[in-house]
């Protein structure tokens, strides 16, 4: 088994269901091994493939460390968790589900701020008025920092947020946020608007290959088969 291929798949939620549908449509039947809540699985008729069911966030970690050869997870999680992702993983195929935009959103009442440049312009005045830099709430700490660095915004502090990020500006724990959104409705309901140039990443579920895993001939063979079936 250690010669074969490890495929890391999300273990719960919509992402898991849609992954199962995708594989089923491609004629790949996934089966969990042991009890139905088990962490391991297999693909019918492919004995060299071992499926590891883990959380979507852990899929990225499996790929980064080479514990899995292939995995399915959101591009947002890959970019967040792997510092030099471009060197360490390959995106093989966009899968057409799990869509989410990572965006910068500020209070709607900031009618004087529409772009990242506007944000930079008020940073100093904000510091003068409040004795501190902007606080930005996000669970995408690395993505946010990289994006702000590219846009030349340096005067802010990140507040790590693990849930209900969109409520932090109204609650006063942050001044604006970097978060995922699908329709923008949740943001609107919380009195926030997306900056004109605040789209950081259009993310969706991807089939991703690890550059750090040990690729045996058997693992390659299994990869080719899976990719052929999925049309990647």
């Amino acid at each position: 088994m250690s010669e074969g291929l490890v495929l890391a798949l999300p273990s719960k939620g919509r992402l898991m269901e849609q992954t199962h549908d995708l594989f089923a449509a491609a004629g790949l039947v996934l089966r969990k091994v042991g009890n139905a809540r088990g962490y391991r699985g297999e693909i019918e008729g492919m004995p060299t493939v071992e499926v590891a069911y883990v959380s979507a966030a852990e899929v990225a970690w499996y790929l980064k460390t080479g514990r899995a050869h292939l995995g399915i997870t959101g591009e947002d999680l890959i970019q967040e968790q792997i510092t030099n992702w471009a060197d360490r993983v390959d995106f093989l195929k966009k899968l057409g589900f799990g869509h989410a935009d990572v965006v910068v959103a500020v209070p709607k009442s900031w009618i004087d701020v529409a772009t990242m440049a506007d944000l930079d312009e008020i940073a100093l005045d904000f510091h003068r008025a409040h004795g501190r830099w902007f606080r930005v709430a996000t669970k995408y700490v690395n993505i946010a920092r990289r994006f702000f660095a590219q846009r030349g915004l340096t005067d802010y502090r990140i507040v790590e947020s693990l849930g209900a990020t969109e409520g932090t500006p109204a609650a006063g724990t942050a001044d604006f946020i970097v978060d995922i959104t699908t329709t923008g409705e949740t943001l609107k309901a919380n009195g926030l608007k997306i900056l004109d140039d605040g789209l950081i990443l259009k993310s969706e579920a991807n089939l991703v290959a690890s550059g750090t895993a040990t690729w045996t001939p058997k693992a390659r063979e299994a990869e080719n088969e899976i990719m052929a079936r999925l049309g990647a």
């Binding site: 709607k108 009442s109 009618i111 930079d120 990289r146 990140i158 109204a170």
Partner: protein, 392 residues
């Protein structure tokens, strides 16, 4: 960190002793600031980007700490511990490890754990003299360690500030250009914006509101903004107040009604930024640039020439030094003179030593005001590699 042989360790130790001997002889007191530092201070001084290249961690008490990414801020803190008002003159030197996160594969010239030997001079009012001294002491130390060839590069943010101050424009534009100096793209955009006239640049702000704002009476302007928000059903949330939002809208409106920056001034600023020349010739070039534009930067230019002369008097070969107006553009905490020493075999991206003036750093660390401060650090692994001809 890559495993280190005892031989390399001893070589670095022996080299550090030579460097420190030169510093101490020049009157710099040897100090050993803490390796573990409060993260918040570094985050305020350097910004959130620090986290991307520093080892930040939380201790069992929940306090956020970091492994020092350099020794300058720790030395400022040490000075403030001794002199809370930062009102004493002091000269310090140090040798010890600093830590920076490096992405995989960034090469041996950029280790994540490296030793810095350096010096800092605080509170010396004669700025050019203190700067010339730091350069000459660093070069003497490099020589004492065995470095035979190098290239000195210098820059001077004081000249840029003088140029902006002499050029005709509102004070807030100066502040904005100074603020953007460290971001070449944003700087160019800002310059273009000011030249075209803010009124001619589309900006996604409520135009009707901007047009009706009373620029003379803040309270009336504030009322207009409030009416606008209510009409649109926008709730005011977060820490930023109505007064702050209004003040910014007023400044946008004022910009739109101000005469644009003259093309000649914008051109002059761009020409200045483009100047690279041997250190002595650069002064003359800058004088030529400003002479017929009725812009007087002679005080800053005199300081520039005086510094070169003092460096020469102290034995620094300035004839082969290069000046670049843009140099210093990546290091936001510098406020004036900057320099870098490049050694053979290492390339300009891996200077063996560098430093400059940072008069506002002490205030950011907690002093009541700005304090004249100039310092420099030597990357000792690179120095050893350059001297022994090995890879670092």
């Amino acid at each position: 960190m890559a495993a280190e042989t005892a031989r390399k360790f001893e070589a670095l130790e022996a080299q550090a002793q030579k460097l420190m001997a030169v510093f101490i002889k020049a009157g710099y007191e040897a100090v050993a600031p803490s390796m573990i530092q409060p993260a918040a201070l570094f985050l305020d001084v350097i910004g959130e980007s620090l986290r991307a290249r520093t080892y930040v961690f939380v201790d069992p008490d929940g306090d956020e700490l970091c492994l020092r990414p350099d020794l300058t801020v720790p030395t400022c803190r040490l000075h403030l511990e001794r002199h809370p008002k930062a009102d004493a003159k002091a000269k310090y030197c140090y040798n010890g490890p600093a830590f920076r996160f490096q992405p995989e594969g960034s090469g041996k010239a950029h280790p994540r754990e490296f030793r810095q030997a350096g010096l800092e001079s605080f509170g010396v009012p004669d700025r050019e003299k203190a700067e010339a001294e730091v350069v000459s002491v660093v070069l003497n130390a490099l020589k004492a360690a065995g470095l035979k060839e190098w290239k000195l590069r210098i820059g001077d943010l004081g000249l840029f500030r003088a140029l902006l101050e002499a050029a005709k424009m509102p004070e807030c534009w100066r502040q904005r250009l100074m603020h953007q100096f460290w971001r070449p793209d944003a700087f160019r955009t800002e310059l273009e914006r000011l030249t075209k006239g803010a009124a001619n640049i589309p900006r996604d702000v409520p135009k009707d509101l901007i047009a009706e704002l009373d620029l003379e009476h803040p309270e009336l302007a504030e009322r207009s903004v409030l009416r606008y928000l209510e009409a649109k059903g926008i709730e005011l949330i977060g820490a930023r107040s109505l007064a702050e939002i209004t003040a910014n809208l007023v400044s946008i409106a004022t910009d739109a009604r101000t005469e644009p920056l003259s093309a000649a001034t914008a051109q002059l600023i761009e020409s200045y930024i483009g100047v690279t020349a041997p250190a002595r010739a650069a002064g003359a070039r800058l004088k030529d640039l400003t002479r017929d534009k009725a812009i007087d930067i002679s005080v800053a230019l005199d300081a520039y020439h005086r510094r070169l002369q003092l460096m020469t008097d102290m034995g620094v070969d300035v004839v082969h030094a290069d000046f670049s107006a843009e140099f210093g553009r990546t290091l936001e905490y510098y406020t004036g003179f900057v320099f870098e020493v490049v050694a053979p075999g290492l390339g300009t991206l891996s200077p063996v030593a560098g430093g400059g003036r940072y008069d506002s750093l002490m205030r950011q660390c907690g002093a009541p005001g700005d304090v004249p401060a100039v310092g420099a650090a030597i990357h000792t692994e690179r120095l050893l590699a350059s001297i022994t001809g090995a890879t670092p």
